[in-house]
Amino acid sequence: MSRPEFQAPPEIYYGDTEAKKYTHNTRNQAIQAEMTDRALELLNLPEGQPALLLDIGCGSGLSGEILDEEGYTWVGLDIAPSMLEVALEREVEGDLFLHDIGQGLGFRPGSFDGAISISVLQWLCNADTTSPTSSPPARLTRFFTSLHAALTRSARAVFQFYPQSDDQVTLITSIAMRCGFEGGLVVDYPNSQKAKKFFLCLFAGGGESSGGARRKVEIPKGLDGDGGEQEREPAAFEKRRTNGRGEKGKKRKGAKENHKDWILRKKELYRKRGKEDVPRDSKFTGRKRKSVF
């Protein structure tokens, strides 16, 4: 099977059917959760401090749900209406935007304390029209420039992605550096065909220093081994996550809360808010990238 990003533009590929299939597949949920956890680890936010994060290509909220769980406030951007629709149904906490990140972001400078992006960046490397504004380098440049501005100086942005080639990694990284970031690629489980994962780890404070020599940032180390937990069943995976989250869990309501309790509490919160009555039937409008307003 060829890669999804070769088959159709993202907002078409992730249509109603695929959005549901993607979101409800428990194995996929576990993999996205695992990679989100790792991205958060690489984000290295100050312990115990609340933060405002950006979830770039948030999709149906599988990555955002982990941010909710960790007690972070977040804003999600995605180009696929059907994915956002599923995110609404799943009642994620973040504010959602229908947005093509290749058009650049529209946030004031210093808005976010960090950004994650799980399984998205490879989509930016495909031109779906011949227009010069839609060439991958033009889209990547617009995206990284506006992202760099939207982050605070101490922020990081961590992208798990599926690069098509070494050249693509070089292209993406060099454009990010030109847009003011420092950092580089972190490869987890490099020797395992199955578990190998790529994280582009960017530091916003990088190229900003005025005059003096650039402070050299240290790129985090990738994980070794074969990523055994990748192959576990979702049940075992949930167990590991709850156990492994001792200190961070404090930020969530109640230290020992497990995943199921968390869901129940969240459900209760929604009942209190009377969210069940909110109609979610109509598809939101204006879904075409080129619509004239």
Partner: protein, 125 residues
């Protein structure tokens, strides 16, 4: 799902629109209040990022007059103030309507709580 916390960070990103492009003006809005967990530490951390005048005037346009015209100095926030700020930033949701750029008049429609930020080809930088 557009809350004022995000609205206060949002500027128009259309081509050539670099001044007077904030705050976007709400039009024909439908609001919904939803209780959110009160987190004073988060609010205090977020306060330095707020464009205060824009927040106060936008909240007033949406019918909430609880915020003072001047933002309190760090460390002097009262409980009452923080609760008001919490409500304005985190609990008022704009479900339908639009946001209009004060400069280029681009209209960002909001439907089901989701603003459409997509630009037409000629509006891309």
């Amino acid at each position: 799902m557009v809350r004022l916390i995000t609205h206060n960070l949002l500027a128009c990103h259309a081509k050539g629109c670099t001044t007077n492009n904030f705050p976007l003006a709400f039009r024909d809005v439908q609001l919904e209040n939803r209780e959110a967990e009160y987190n004073p530490e988060f609010l205090k951390g977020f306060m330095p990022k707020i464009e205060w005048n824009a927040l106060v005037s936008t909240a007033r346009e949406l019918g909430d007059v609880s915020l003072p015209a001047e933002c309190p100095e760090p460390g002097t926030e009262t409980d009452e103030f923080l609760h008001a700020l919490h409500h304005v930033l985190m609990e008022i949701h704009v479900e339908e309507g639009s946001m209009v750029c004060p400069n280029c008049q681009h209209v960002y429609r909001i439907s089901n709580g989701i603003p459409n930020m997509l630009l037409a080809e000629h509006e891309i930088k």
